[in-house]
Each structure stands twice: as C-alpha cells, then as structure tokens.
C-alpha cells in the first residue's frame, strides 16, 4: 500500500545517511528494483570486496519483505550459487522475521553482519557450511579467493555511475554460473529454505 511513499523515504535516507559500508540506489529509475553494494567487512574473508545485490521490492512491501540476492559471487554458507540469501529478516513470519518496521537499510545491514558471521547451523550451502564449521581455514581461503576474483575487481566500478554499474552487474552473474559449473556441485544439499 504505502510502498511508493515508503520507498521514496527509504531511498532518501539511504542516500543521505547510508549505513557504513552500504550503498543503495534505484536501478534505472525503477522504484521497485534497487541495487545495493556492501563492502566486505574488515578482518573477514570478504574484506576489500564490493558485493553487489539486487533488491526487488514486492508490491505489498512493507508488508512483505524485499527480495534480495547477491549479484556478486560470494563464498558463504548462507548464500547460494544464485546469490540467494538465507536470512530470517528476508522471510515473512512465522518462519521468517520480517516486519514492516524493518527496512531496506536495516536488512542490508543484517546481510552485512551475516557476511561477517555466517550461520552454519542454518546453511544454504551445506558443504561450505561444514567447511566453515570443521575446516575453517579452508573456508577462509576459499572465501578470500572468491572475493579477490569476483568482488575486488569490481572496485573499479565504484567510481562508475550508477547507470554504468547496471550494465556491469550482469557480468558477475554470468561469471558466477560458469564458475559454479566448473567448481561445483549439486545444490541438493541445500538446507536453508
């Protein structure tokens, strides 16, 4: 109902006082299609990386949570090959924890936290999760490698205008696919969702 008004306000807030390490903007003037970038947290394997996300705002927002997914490949127990994120705030209750008082900014912050602190007990990527739990060093290295390979190079994009970003964003996706096909694996193990 209040989607438009609310989004407008949210975007304004995001532009005026964005959470640290997070930026978000409209994608090509579409109010319901946003793009965001999260800067990998310091002292995490994602440090230095700039991760892009796609945000789709449902018609019923804020009564329904925004749909977010990573466009940039990321090696994380709770984020799958397609960039889908296993995060309670992105789901409606009772399974999820979305509530109208949350907003895009807070959810992005949650994702940022999730990146720093994976939740291996509710994994989307079972193998990464077990790696995180039992062989953390390997996980850290892989995650770092992925970050370097897919996220850091994007730093150049930082200066790009948003419009340009858009076109660039498609790349990672394709890359991601290719990547997975070679490196992975079956998603059959996914547990989350």
């Amino acid at each position: 109902m209040q989607r438009t008004t609310r989004l407008k306000r949210e975007l304004q807030m995001l532009s005026t006082e964005p959470p640290p390490g997070i930026s978000c903007w409209q994608s090509e003037g579409q109010i319901d299609d946003l793009r965001a970038q999260i800067l990998g947290g310091v002292s995490t394997p994602y440090e230095g990386g700039l991760f892009s996300l796609e945000i789709k705002v449902p018609e019923r927002y804020p009564f329904e949570p925004p749909k977010m997914r990573f466009l940039t490949p990321i090696y994380h127990p709770n984020i799958d090959n397609a960039g889908r994120i296993c995060l309670d705030a992105l789901k409606l209750p009772p399974k999820g924890a979305w509530k109208p008082s949350l907003n895009i900014s807070t959810v992005l912050s949650s994702i940022q936290v999730l990146m720093a602190e994976p939740n291996p007990d509710d994994p989307l990527m079972a193998d990464i999760s077990s790696e995180y739990k039992y062989n953390k060093q390997v996980y850290l290295e892989k995650a770092k490698r992925w970050t370097e390979k897919h996220a850091i190079q994007r730093n150049k994009g930082l200066e790009e205008t948003k419009g340009q970003m858009q076109s660039k964003m498609d790349k990672p996706c394709r890359k991601r696919d290719a990547l997975y096909s070679e490196e992975h694996q079956d998603d059959s193990k996914k547990a989350c969702m």
């Binding site: 109902m1 209040q2 989607r3 008004t5 609310r6 949210e10 409606l92 924890a97 008082s101």
Partner: protein, 700 residues
Amino acid sequence: MENSDSSEQGGSEQPDAQRRRQLDRLDREEAFYQFVNNLSEEDYRLMRDNNLLGTPGEITEEELLSRLQQIKDGPEQSNTNESRSEEAGGPEGQEEGSNGDSLLDWLNTVRRTGNTTRSGHRGNQSWRAVSRTNPNSGDFRFSLEINVNRNIAEQQARNEEGEQTEGEGEEPVGLGAEPEIPMETTEVVEEPVVEELAVIVEPEPELTRPEAPSVVQPFSHQVQAVPAPRPRGVPVTPSFSYRVQVPPPPTVDEPPRRPPVTQSFSQQEQAPPPPRPTAEDLPPPRPRAEDPPPRAPMTQSFSQQVQAPPPPRPRAEDLPRRGQRRARSRSPEQRRTRARSERSRSPLSLDTEPLPEAVVEGSSRTRQHVLSRQSTVEYDAQLGGAATVDPPTAPQEAEPVAGEGGAAGRRPPTIMLDLQVRRVRPGEYRQRDSIASRTRSRSQTSNNTFLYESERGGFRRTFSRSERAGVRTYVSTIRIPIRRISDAGLSEATSMALQSMIRQIMTGFGELSYFMDSDSDSSDSNRGPNPPPEHGEALHNPDAATAGTAASATAGGGLGQDSAEPRTDERGGEGGTPAAGAGREGRAGPRGPISLEEPGSLPFLRLAHFFLLNDDEDDQPRGLTKEQIDNLSTRNFGENDALKTCSVCITEYAQGNKLRKLPCSHEYHVHCIDRWLSENSTCPICRRAVLVPANRESVV
C-alpha cells in the same frame, strides 16, 4: 508529510513527466489520508473490511467516495452478481465460464460485496457458484455446484423444482430475488453413481470449536449439505464443505418427489426442469450458467448459517432422500441414527453430543446440527431446540432423505462444493491445530461416509494469500464424507491416500470422476450383484435412456441399500465403525473410473485446488480477525503529540491521523497496522503478540 515527499521528488532527477506523475500521486495520497481521517469509524471499517481503501496515492478521493457509497448501498442487495464488479473482481464477476483465476477474483470480490451468484457451463457440465458473506461474523460461504449431464435420460428432474422452491422460500437471503433459474438442467443423468464429497473445512470458529465439523454426516447419498448451518450468529465456524454428489441417474418417477430438501440439490434439479426436454438431447451445459438463480439453494445454506434455524437444514439431507423410494430402506429413523452416530463419532462432537439426540427426531437436521457442532455448544443447543421444534420439518426431511438415495440416482451427477470459511483467529488456529493433530480418519462404512480430519492440517489450508487481507482464510479441517473411500482401509495409510485423492479431486474434474468411481464401487460392493461397470456404462451411454433408467433404478436401489446398510451398521455398532468401514472397503473393489466427458474442464476445481492445496502453508502467518483488530484501541493524533513516525509507512503522523495502539503501546496508522494485522499477529516493532493468548482455548 506530503510536502517532504514532494521535495524528495524534486531532488531526484527524474523526467518531468515522471515527476508530475509522482506529484499527482502525492496529491492523491494526501487526499487519501484526509479521506481516511474523515471517515467515521464505521465507514472506515466498512471500507477496510471490503478492501476498498486501495493504495494511497493510487486512488482518488472521488473513487473512494464512490466506493464507500457503493458499499453502503451494496450490502442490502443480496445478489449482486454485477454489483460487485466494482471491486477488483468486477470484470469477471458475472461472466460465466470464466477461468479459474477469474473465479478466484470473483471469490475475492464476492467477499467484499456480499452475496453473489455466478454460474456457467462448459460442455456438459454446468456450474453455479454462490457466495455469501456474513458481515457480522466475517464468515464467508461459498457454494459451488457442478452438474454433469451425461444423458438427458429423463427430464424428471424438473419435478423437483417445486420442491426446491420451497427451499428457496426458506432462504432468508436476498437471493430470492432472483427467480429460480431457468436453468435447464439437463441432465438426467443416468449414472447411478452418486458421490458425495463433503469436505467440511472448518476453521475453528472462535468461540466454538471448530472441530465440531465432525458433523459430517455423510450419508452417502444424502447430501450433507449440512455444513451450512452456522446458525449462531456469531462466530460461526467456517466450515468448508465440499460435496460432490453425483446423483445417480434419476429415474423418471421420482422426480416429483424430491422434496426440495436439499436445496442445493434441489437447485440443481430445479433448474433443470424447463430444459429437460432438451436434456434428453444431452443438455450438457447445465443450465445454470447464466442464472444467478441458483442461489436459492445456496442461499438457504447461507441462511442457515445465519440462522441456525432449523428450516433450512432439512435440505441437506433431503437430497438423498428421494432415493428412498427406491427401495432403499432407509427410514428416516435410520438416518437419524446415523446422524447420531456420526455425531457421536465426530471427535469434535464433544460438546455437541447432546445435540445429536435431540436432533434425532429431526433426523435430517441432525446433519446440519452436526455441522453446527462445530459451533459452540450454544449453537448446538439451538440446533437441538430447533430440531425438536422443527418436527414438522423433520418429517419432510425425513422423507426426502429416504428418497435421497434414489434421488441421487435420478439426478444428474452433481458436484457440490460448499465452502464456508471464516477467518481463523490466531487463537483458534491453534486450537485447530491441536484438533487437527488429533485428527483421525474414520470411515464409516455404514454411511459410506468417510470422515477425514487430517492431522498436520493436511487439509487445512489457507486460502489465502489473496492479497486482500479480508479474504484470507484458513481452513482448519476438512471433513470429507465420502461414501467410500477407496479400497484403502481407514488406516492412516488410507488417510494419506485420501488426502491425495481429495486433493486430486479438488484439482480437477478428472480426479473427481475418480472419486465418483470409488463411490460407485462402494455401492456396487454393497449391491454385490451389480457390477461397477454398469454404472460406467450408464453414464456413458446416453442412448440407453431406458437402460440408463433401469440402471439408475438399480443403482438407486443399490445406493439405497448401501445407505441402509451403513445405517444399520452404524446402529449396530457405531463404535465399531471402523470395522464396518473395513468390511466395506474390503468389498469395494477397484472399479473402472467413470469417465467424465470433459475432465478438467471445470475451472472451479482449480478454485478448490486453490483452497485446499497448500499443505506447506500451515506455517503461514495468521492474522487477526477484523473483530480482533477493531478491539484494539485507536486515537487521533493530536497537535500536542510529540512527533512520531509510523514505522510501517515511515511517515510522521499528522494531526488528525487515526492511530491504533497495540497492547505493547506501539502505535501505527490504522490503515497501516490493520493491513499488517490482517495477516500477522505480532507487533511490527517488538514482535509481541497482539493478542493475549487468552483466547487460545485449551484443546479439547
């Protein structure tokens, strides 16, 4: 607020056109808030409950005004086929034969506007859907009848009309306005098979325990229209009844008899009369298509809901009765017994039990009662009283009942879907769950009725999700009295099988046919002598009008027997039901399914599908009922209040805004929070439950 918005817009670098659009939108939004603020409490509720408020910024004030006007005027008109169009569903609303989606929309629409009837036909199938909403309780009832004409065999059906009319008279609702429909019913179906599927989904009524649903009295043929009765005005539980009745081919003789008993049936039947002649030709399309008329029957049910009143009830049972003549020995008494037994059996019956006895006299009513059981005891009491009171009616009913079996046979196969939905409040829901967990499936051989209550809420679904909050409904339990459930035993395995079967049924007509088969089988089994194939043949062979009749007769007889048997069984050992059921099952052999000519052609089924299929959704968030929401305190934002922002729309409150304060002290715009609460039960800020667990009644 608006101002700020505009400034924002200005900031963005959007094309002028876009900016202009946004400005317009903001203006409308402002107007919207103003409009909402100026609405009286009642008007606001009316609009909200009917989902007329729309989206701020997208609706002009004029539109809102006109909607308000319409809704105010609307309620009175009982049948608003067209009227409801105003709202979303509008477009499809009246059309017949629309596709499933439209049906859904229609449904949604209906809910808002009140009562609606819609019909259409496809090929040899005709359907009629009637919906009614009880503004007070929020209960929603939806009935769908699908007739399949196989052969026109005889026109006998027509006779019934008279009877039906009676039923109509009873109907309280406005439907009456519409004349009965001229539907031509075509069908004289010869198929003996009568299937009645009564699925009652009862969401729990708040007060009452929903479970009551046990009611299911599925006499086999007799239709269990039953569910309808939600007499108690209040919190009626929503009962979902899904009946599929496939009346066996009607024999000519009987036609007259049919007492209007089952209104629903009667409608079907009635409708046909005129057309009958045609029927012979295979009047496939059932008549109703256009007619709104059907309502009569439906109405009755509605009425029942509204008024527990005895009168209506009868109909449920009636249908079947016609069969009586047929040999079926069912004496009303027997029926009664069944009813009782059923009642007693029903798990829910707990409270209701008393009723049954009372009911007994009213035999036919009992069923209704049964349904009603769901409702609170009070309700039961009413029923009981009614039952007793009604005696007069009872007799009628009884007769009809007797005839039911026969009637069914004669009548064209009809599939009825009777849905009564009530929003389930959170508390209720829980109860329901518990109830559901207890679920059991029983098959009563005697009745052929199968009562299935799913655990895990297998059948309960939300129908939801429609965006209109108002429409969302959770159905807790569905009882399906199926005469016979397939060969499978009553065991749990069976239940699973049933589930799937039902689902299938709901999903498509084809599946329905499958079901029907099972029924027929059962009859066959009972009959022993009659091979199932016959039925099928009968159905298929239109030409064999005569043959059909004969077959129907036999079928009818068979049915009667079946019913009789079941009853007896029940009497003998109601408790022993299971055993009986088992026996039956054993008998029933798998038979070739009766093939319907146009399987899957009915869009309605999709609807059913919609209603029933999401098992996985059990976890869906449950919202509060309008009543519950309305009970939350509200206030107007005053000048002196500190600046605050509604966290739903992130807009600062402006003077005059209506705010609703939740128990946790968090406030929101009424229109913001109401929408959230219609689907959720926690505070958007602190997630505290808005409702105190108080209403959570202990599970029986």
